[in-house]
């Protein structure tokens, strides 16, 4: 049924449909609406779940590790500082092979305090062993959250569903909310592969010597590869029921494109309108939207970009001392592909600044008018700042 929902409620509706049994969360702007909806659902009986109102994000993830280890489906949501506080336990969740699902509302780091969108928080967790999916609109948020459980449970790895602060979390859009029976067909009840059980006592996570630790880590690496190879089949089943599919990436008019924007999150929607405008003026841009960031879809990225003359990656994040993080990943994916196009890295929209059609056009012309990238990253829209002495 089509309803007009906030992105935050799209998350909550998916969690309800997934029949999650234990929810835990600690409030942080701009994640709070997700938590408020779920708190209400648990309290009213709309969901048959326990809501653990813990005293920190660290304890939140720890509680989910305990709950999932005892054999139930779990969920949490966080942002920015909260995600950073969880960091230690993100490694723990993947190392323990627990299919926990988390919504992550991208928020900039302090200091100074900034509650607006910036992807540095989630991208800083790229090495934690979590699958990461970035969403463009609220329908995709709902669908991705449901898909996250299938993906997580099929490979026993946790999944982070990432959405832009405010542009998604607090924006109302029409969303097709599936019926519970449809959701159940896609996502059967959770059956733990292993769990704490007094009838079959086991020890989880004990001391592990070098003679076996490496193999355990290699298993996680293989599970990531399996997640990538399972993705299309999982989405096929989703499409058969709901009629929608998104892919690991979406290549928009890349076949004849000369310059391809690489985007993620809501910037993609703005890029779609810029693309139409530029095409109308005889230009040939394309867009490669990256949805799945971990595991990184190297082959899909190479295929989409193989015909492009130039690639312009737009990063709403930055790795200090290096470059935008999507740009790093795209360069790494292309460097062993013969005859790959040059990659221009652009940094825009940091700390919630608007990325307008004008910003994207500026990026297009800068890329078109430069033979080769002059720097690893070009920051777009910087103001002249007087620093004083």
């Amino acid at each position: 049924m089509k309803r007009v929902l906030e992105g935050s409620q799209a998350v909550a509706e998916a969690v309800r449909l997934a029949r999650v049994q234990v929810v835990s969360a600690y409030p942080i702007t701009p994640q709070t609406h997700i938590v408020e909806f779920l708190s209400e659902y648990c309290s009213s009986g709309t969901m048959n779940a326990r809501f653990l109102r813990v005293e920190s994000e660290h304890s939140c993830m720890a509680a989910l590790i305990g709950a999932q280890s005892a054999g139930v489906r779990t969920f949490t949501a966080t942002s920015g500082q909260g995600l950073a506080l969880m960091h230690e336990l993100l490694h723990w969740a993947s190392g323990a092979r627990l299919p926990i699902v988390m919504a992550e509302v991208n928020r900039a780091f302090a200091p100074g305090w900034n509650i607006w969108v910036d992807q540095t928080d989630s991208l800083a967790q790229r090495d934690t062993g979590w699958i990461q999916l970035y969403c463009e609109d609220s329908q995709e948020v709902l669908d991705t959250t449901l898909q996250a459980y299938r993906l997580a449970e099929s490979v026993a790895l946790p999944v982070m569903v990432v959405l832009d602060a405010f542009f998604l979390s607090h924006t109302y859009e029409p969303v097709d909310v599936p019926e519970p029976e449809e959701a159940d067909r896609f996502l059967p009840p959770y059956e733990a592969r292993f769990q704490l059980d007094t009838a079959a006592p086991c020890s989880f996570g004990p001391l592990v010597p070098p003679s076996v630790y490496m193999e355990m880590r290699h298993d996680i690496a293989r599970a990531m590869e399996t997640a990538l190879s399972n993705f299309s089949g999982m989405e096929g089943e989703f499409a058969a029921i709901f009629g929608r599919r998104y892919g690991t990436v979406e290549a928009i008019r890349c076949d004849d494109a000369e310059i391809v924007f690489v985007t993620s999150g809501t910037i993609t929607s703005t890029a779609r309108s810029v693309l139409e405008n530029l095409r109308g003026r005889g230009e040939k841009p394309g867009i490669l939207k990256i949805r799945l960031f971990r595991p990184f879809p190297v082959e899909a990225v190479r295929n989409a970009l193989k015909g492009a003359k130039k690639v312009a990656v737009i990063d709403r994040n930055f790795s200090f001392g290096a470059s935008g993080i999507f740009a790093q990943e795209v360069r790494a994916a292309l460097c062993n592909a013969v005859g790959h196009p040059p990659v221009f890295g652009f940094v825009a929209g940091i700390g919630g600044r608007d990325v307008t059609p004008e910003v994207l056009e500026e990026i297009y012309w800068k890329t078109k008018n430069s033979a080769v990238p002059e720097r690893e990253s070009v920051w777009i829209g910087l103001q002249e700042v007087s620093h004083g002495t």
Binding site: Q21, V22, S24, N48, A49, R50, L52, R53, V54, E55, S56, H58, S59, C60, A62, A63, L64, I65, G66, A67, Q68, S69, A70, G71, V72, T74, E88, L89, W92, L196, D197, T198, P201, C202, S203, F204, G205, P206, L207, V208, P209, V212
Partner: protein, 293 residues
């Protein structure tokens, strides 16, 4: 008091604790008292090692090892999952050292007991970070040498009173126990098991390695701590009602300190200061219990 305890063991032989390890003794009594319908959360502590490396384990119960500061939180999650599965019979126990309880895990513990999560939190207290090589914790007593309180920098701060901190949360049940008094320890474990909500047990567990005592002194030194009132045995219900389980003859603390390597630097004047502290704490406890010296 007669000790009524099953012959059944829930620890395999072959744990890898040090000889005379008080924490191993404490675990054995706890498991015997609780029986098999229990699950254990084991945040980083000596027991992370004592249980043995993969693929072996000395524990015959379901165990989830967890990050250092998460004892209260992981147990909250396990309990919530069991409740959702309709299992109200299984007891969830967190088994943590003093570092994981008094220091790094204190926030998660405070959060869990404020929510009155239905589990037993056990702190086995060996009065320092023994697993990492004898570094001071906020449970390390006044006067002690550790590798981070060496030489003239021996610890000048009092041991944190963890039971009082827990009692301040008004939890249903909190108690101290010692490996030297197993009948009292077992009774308290069973009492805790019968109560709903957050329960806290503080078990004095001597550490021959860290305290620099012969391993055969492990139980005796714990008994001396009780008999000198350094570690009194008592219970607190609802954070208000105190019961002192044993009133010893108040042996002077001097003998307890003299035989431990970690206190060898203390002078008679230092020991006088410590005796005063112990007397003061005992008077305070008597007042809370509505008794007089």
């Amino acid at each position: 008091m007669e000790l009524e305890l099953s012959d059944r063991e829930f620890m395999h032989s072959g744990h890898v604790g040090c000889p005379g390890c008080g924490a191993a003794i404490a675990m054995r009594f706890l498991l015997k008292a609780l029986g098999e319908k229990m699950m254990m959360v084991l945040p980083a502590c000596c027991w992370s090692v004592i249980a043995g490396p993969y693929p072996t384990t000395t524990l015959k119960i379901p165990v989830i090892h967890s990050a250092f500061e998460t004892g209260g939180a992981v147990a909250s999650g396990v309990r919530a999952a069991l409740d959702m599965k309709g299992d109200t019979e299984t007891t969830v126990v967190t088994w943590a050292g003093d570092g994981g309880t008094f220091d790094i895990g204190f926030q998660a513990l405070s959060g869990a007991v404020e929510r009155n999560e239905d589990f037993i939190y056990v702190c086995y207290d060996n009065e320092a970070y023994m697993n990492t090589g004898i570094q001071r914790s906020s449970s390390t007593p006044y006067g002690a040498w550790t590798t981070t309180t060496p030489g003239k920098d021996w610890k000048k701060m009092r041991k944190k009173n963890i039971v009082e901190a827990l009692a301040a949360h008004r939890i249903p049940y909190a108690a101290t126990a010692s490996i030297s008094h197993p009948e009292d320890l077992v009774r308290k474990v069973r009492r805790a098991q019968a109560v709903k909500g957050s329960r806290f047990l503080h078990i004095f567990a001597s550490c021959p390695t860290g305290w620099k005592i012969p391993s055969e002194m492990a139980v005796k030194i714990a008994r001396m701590a009780v008999q000198t009132n350094i570690f009194p045995l008592y219970e607190v219900e609802e954070g208000l009602h105190y019961t002192i389980n044993l009133k010893p003859k108040r042996f002077p603390v001097r003998e307890y300190f003299k035989i431990q390597g970690r206190f060898q630097h203390l002078t008679d004047a230092d020991l006088d200061v410590i005796q005063k502290m112990v007397d003061e704490d005992w008077e305070l406890l008597l007042r809370k219990a509505g008794e007089h010296a």
